[in-house]
Subunit: 794 residues, 2 copies
């Protein structure tokens, strides 16, 4: 342990130095290149024209704070209005306004191109490096196994494994290529490569971009709902996540690249939106771009553009206007076509798992499909509970202090157990692909080792059901072992400090279970075709059961159980098969799985991780049905100190400064006077500080004793009193108010739909208190019998 | 004219009598069977328990009024809360709560089944009646031409037209079946049948269900946005629209059944939601069902379930929570599968126009595709402008007084011009189907009359481009004439007092233009394959241009130009072809068409009709970018009489009654006193009337002199004064307020997102005025330089 720690430290320090130098080399201008919020950069520089211009810094937020959607929207309208009125002045301004109107499409195009390219590169690199664990291509070391054997055109497709140009490590390093010692050598090198990849990945993540770990979807959901996490979508995260994603997927860990691809696409979105001031300076508009980028991410992950858009709509996005729908669709299509023109799968297919089935399904099959749905729901519940418990343990115990060691250990265990079983040795997406496929006539896989009828002369597409051969039984055993292994190892893998997606492992679990059920039903139908349930549709010699379809249904069920996706899940699966034929089985399984999983707990894995991290996420799907009123939630509570307020014309600069110093609220309501407490407006903390600082520096006569006034005209002051400070400009004259009798369900609705940060509570004009988003979330947690303190950010 | 009027009146009177009797026979219990709002029925009956229970009538609205979404939502939460708390009491209550939770899915299932069945029946009936215009099947008169010739299996598919069992009218009525007199006889009977169908249709609509006319989509959009139009979705409308839809489509008028099918599906949705109190008593929940029903309608119209859901989301719906998305999808799928199992097209295809192309498209073809997009945009603009002008004329001049005559005249013109041209004589959807199809080897149509290469021995699927034969040139002429005719006649047809959809005529216009362009490009490429633009991809002997694809792109462009659909349009088209291959051409055309059309006017045909009718529809797509404040919009304006308000404890019953009688406002703000004007709450007119009426009848001591008080405790009164009337229960203590400084863009946003009816304007607690939805819409109209008085309803 100690030795590992020292070694780890040493290497990390070297890498940190390296990072610094790269940092300086690559990004010589911006030292804080990870910033989400580019608006910050021109903050202090523009203070010069403070008195003439609206505040330049108004649009910026602190890190780990919530944005105000209404304000962002109205700022964008202002900007738009300005451009429109300017565009009539000259042709140049008109062209500029046109460019501004088109910039949204340009950003989408760029995102689509980059996301598609990155996905293609990742696919190619993963292919090559996964095969590198087993051997190397002699003609060109950068060829994967498949590419290597393509070029040597002396082999047919059948004995792909025996192409002479591809050499296993044992063949290359020692003369003998068969036997126990060769096997052990290959085994050992397989583990070594895996450890090597995993160690490199976790080190890169730790040193260069800590945010590159995980799937990223929980954080992206939170960011899209209006939260600021600086650097989460930065350039470094983009770069490191792309590289480490290749490493971890190649290392054979039980994780997928689909979730992280969404994060990568969002990083692209953030990068391109920072090029256009329309998006870089408005957090609301930026989130529209990010929603579209998420759609592009799923689009390239599965080759399913429509499913991607619906995924973004259903699962990820918060504010999704129709314009974004259309643009998301565009970005998703561009990304999908870019990926197809790179053609990483070598078959010019758009989709990841293309399948074509030849037989319809029958009503009686709905029963096993629904069973698979139940399995998916149970798996989802089990996975979420265990994974969250393990992640909580990691957060709270010493375990969390050795992330590199953890990755190494899990990788070693994975590699050691995975190698002997052919279904876990290969990459998970290849496995899923094989499980989904129907047994054609030319299929050589073990899963298709059926006993052929000797009377059947030549293989046709429509092969009848046949009895299973010994290969199928072996495959069943191996699949069962692989299933248990996948279930256990995935729980420990997801959440480590490396990029890790959940889609592929979940689908693999479901596909394995589904294929086994499918083969079971098939054999049952073959051997007992006189049973009542089979008699109507499964005569001998008919091709009635398609085990591949069961695998697909199982995959959908398990994915649904973990993520609680519904429409987007079915649409993604529909795009994979390209036919409406199998939508009913998929829907039946998806719905069952969601219901079963929901019965044990409403949260999907992403919401569970959001809760675990205490992000302020106001889910649109949660229904608030309690009978509380605004007065029960607002601050101050009974017995608490009264609300910190500003008065409109009776406080001095010093009073205000003291108030700012003593409290950490984000803003203060302004009232007529402490006695009447009638609300005038709301002043942001940040703007107050800026305004006072600026006034003290540059406005003559403003001293600590100056009266701060928010009214239109200065108060009547005794002679010789210091020059007053007028701050009406920073006062928000239309703060959002509700009465103390407003039901909390309405308040929650308002917070959700308008994206507020805070809301003032009044009774016939008198200010009673304030409700912030954090208060709302804490109240909701309390009502759901959860710990309200788990909501950490504002 | 006069004679026509008398005849018309006579028949109408007879039909009205008939209607009454049917009314009594079919619906013996509810005389007001057309009501949208079933909650009304138990209004007066429940007044008994007025003092103990919350008002039974609270949830109902007047006809042509806007609902309050927030209130509907909170009423549903109350209901839900009650059921949940009751469900713990007994097993029966638990089962009831489960049934309640499942009722949403049951409604969706029923809607899907009924909508699918109706669509199938309509398809079959239209097929039969369209053929009835030309002839009759001798073996069974209820067979359509195609079905008739299927049963006589002596003919091959090729000479379908010559099957002996099918007899043209001329063959049946007179002995000779060829020659000029036979042609004239057929011509005459064709016109007579068409007139007969159209007259029957318009009479049925006028007498039984005036709301059954038009496409229904503008009204459904308005209803879904929260407007009440009683009877628009009633049972009579459902019945009559279904029947007359068959009649008008068969009559050969230039209209389609797709839009009306959405209306029919929504009627089904309204019917089934009235069976469950969860939906029948809550206008908000009812609208969720209607959104899903609209999706089911498009799903069966095109056989495109995903496109249907997106259409509902993009085009029709207003409030579309995720739960509705999922349920819409379910309803759309059930509807599609029901339709498929009825199998009206006889090919077990789900989609209306199934096409399969064998060749890819090339980059250079994007230019003609974009040209088609421009054409689509121009057609959209032309159609909307002319149609709206004509409809306005109909509304304002004497023309509108003869709806039956108008339909007869247009039908006669249509039939007379349509018969001689083979492309207009047949049904429009058959025409589109032929235009979309690629010329296969076996195609016998005139459009496929190419000159075959004599060296080519046998027909294969991949036929190279060939020179056009004389048939193609004839077809081009006929298509051009048909195009001009369709363009003109559709403008006059859409908006008559019969059910009429726009999708099919628009698609037909686009498909004709597209096919002509496609053939042009094909011949250009064949004859000039050495030109630079063709050289790279169109070598002689290659199959490089698919005219059918051009037709499809043209159809998408024209449909997009008229309706301004984007994503749903592309997805519907994608579902027709079933491949992502052609999405780029479709998108290019759809985007171009939308941009071109938007340049001439932002409104689609549905929005234009909504405006024409003055419905209060707050479009989510319109951006409000003006710099006005709430104070500019609120009532009372400067110089107007002060706002009519109630005071909390100083008005008598008589004062309140006078106020109610003298004004027609929907509600009154309640203030502390006329002097302070500090807002306490808001009281609905309807509830005030009910409460006072009830109190006068049943509460002792309440007389005209009684003080009405809204405070918690009665005001201190002099002795011997009459018993006061407490009305706090009907007071809404959380009225929505904004300050007078709130920018109108924020106010518009709040109205849109929260679905408010009105909003009070205050300044530091003092009531200044009120803004209603109508005020907002009038202000928006004014800002867009339109007539604010065109907004007629509240």
């Amino acid at each position: 342990m100690v030795c590992g720690g020292i070694l780890e430290n040493l290497i990390l320090k070297c890498l940190a130095k390296l990072r610094e130098s790269i940092d300086i080399l690559v990004f010589p201008l911006h030292t804080d290149s990870n910033m989400v919020n580019a608006g910050d950069m021109n903050g202090s520089g523009n203070l010069m024209d403070f008195l003439d211009e609206p505040f330049p810094d108004v649009g910026t937020y602190e890190d780990f704070h919530t944005i105000d959607w209404l304000r962002e929207k109205s700022r964008d309208t202002d900007r738009h209005r300005k451009i429109t009125s300017k565009s009539k002045e000259s042709i140049w301004e008109f062209i500029k306004s046109l460019l501004d109107a088109w910039s949204g499409w340009v950003v989408m195009l760029l995102i689509g191109l980059l996301a598609g390219t990155l996905a293609g590169v990742i696919d190619l690199a993963v292919d090559w490096m996964t095969d590198l664990k087993e051997g190397v291509c002699l003609s060109a070391f950068w060829y994967s196994h498949e590419q290597c054997c393509w070029t040597s055109n002396e082999t047919t497709f059948d004995d792909r494994d025996k192409c002479p140009l591809w050499q296993k490590w044992s063949e290359l390093l020692v003369s003998q290529s068969e036997g126990a010692s060769a096997y052990i050598l290959n085994y050992f090198l397989y583990i070594m490569w895996a450890l090597c990849f995993a160690f490199l990945a976790v080190s890169l993540v730790r040193v260069f971009a800590p945010y590159a770990c995980g799937s990223g979807i929980p954080e992206i959901k939170t960011i899209l709902s209006g939260f600021i996490i600086r650097g989460y979508l930065g350039k470094w995260t983009l770069l490191i996540k792309t590289v480490t994603l290749v490493l971890v997927v190649s290392s054979g860990l039980s994780l997928g690249k689909e979730g992280p691809l969404v994060h990568v696409a969002c990083c692209c979105g953030n990068f391109f939106s920072s090029l256009f001031s329309k998006y870089s300076k408005n957090e609301g508009k930026r989130r529209e771009v990010l929603s579209a980028a998420a759609a592009a991410g799923v689009s390239v992950a599965f080759g399913a553009p429509i499913g991607g858009v619906l995924f973004s709509l259903e699962e990820v996005s918060y504010y999704f206007p129709l314009k974004t729908l259309w643009r998301s669709f565009f970005a998703a299509l561009v990304a999908a076509f870019t990926l197809r023109s790179i053609n990483p799968f070598g078959n010019s297919r758009l989709v990841l798992f293309y399948v074509e089935y030849h037989t319809p399904w029958y009503m009686a099959e709905l029963f096993p499909f629904i069973l698979l749905g139940v399995f998916g729901g149970l798996w989802g519940t089990l996975f979420i509970r265990c994974n969250i418990a393990w992640c909580r343990r990691r957060k709270t115990t010493r375990l969390g202090k050795y992330p590199v060691l953890e990755v190494i250990v899990i990788t070693a265990i994975t590699a050691i157990i995975a190698y002997p079983n052919p279904y876990t040795r290969r990459s998970t997406s290849e496995l899923i692909s094989e499980l989904f496929n129907d047994c054609g006539a030319l299929e050589s896989s073990q899963l298709c080792d059926y006993i052929n009828d000797p009377n059947m002369t030549r293989p046709v597409d429509d092969i009848p059901d046949r009895p299973a051969g010994p290969g199928v039984y072996t495959a069943m055993w191996q699949l069962a072992l692989a299933l248990v292994f996948k279930i256990v190892i995935t729980i420990f893998t997801f959440g480590m400090k490396i990029p890790s997606g959940l889609f592929i492992p979940s689908m693999a679990v479901g596909a394995m279970a589904g294929r086994m059920v499918g083969i079971g039903v098939e054999q049952l139908a073959y051997h007992h075709h006189d049973w009542i349930i089979f008699r109507n549709w499964c005569r001998p010699g008919a091709d009635c059961v398609t085990p591949g379809l069961y695998a697909m249904v199982g995959a959908a069920a398990c994915l649904g159980g973990v993520t609680r996706m519904t429409v987007s899940l079915v649409v993604i699966m529909f795009e994979l098969t390209g036919g409406l034929e199998y939508i009913v089985p998929l829907m039946a399984a998806a719905v069952t799985s969601k219901w079963v999983a929901d019965a044990f707990g409403k949260e999907g894995i992403y919401e569970a991780h959001i809760h675990l991290n205490g992000y302020p996420f106001l889910d649109v799907k949660d229904e608030f049905t309690h009978r509380t009123l605004a007065t029960d939630v607002m601050r101050p509570r009974r017995g608490e100190a009264p609300l910190s307020v500003l008065t409109q014309d009776s406080m001095t600069v010093e009073d205000v400064e003291t108030l700012i110093k003593e409290t950490d609220y984000n803003g203060f309501p302004v009232v007529v006077s402490k006695d009447s407490e009638r609300l005038i407006g709301f002043a942001q903390r940040r703007e107050l500080i800026l305004a006072i600082k600026n006034a003290r520096q540059r406005q003559d006569g403003v001293v600590s004793n100056s009266i701060v006034y928010f009214t239109e005209d200065p108060p009547e002051l005794p002679p010789n009193s210091p020059h007053p400070l007028k701050l009406r400009r920073i006062l928000n004259l239309s703060p959002f108010t509700v009465t103390d009798h407003t039901p909390m369900e309405t308040v929650v609705d308002i917070f959700r739909k308008l994206g507020l940060r805070q809301c003032l509570v009044t009774r016939s004009g008198r200010l009673l208190g304030i409700i912030t988003k954090k208060d709302v979330l804490r109240h909701m947690a309390q009502m759901a019998n959860q710990d309200p303190e788990s909501i950490m950010f504002n």
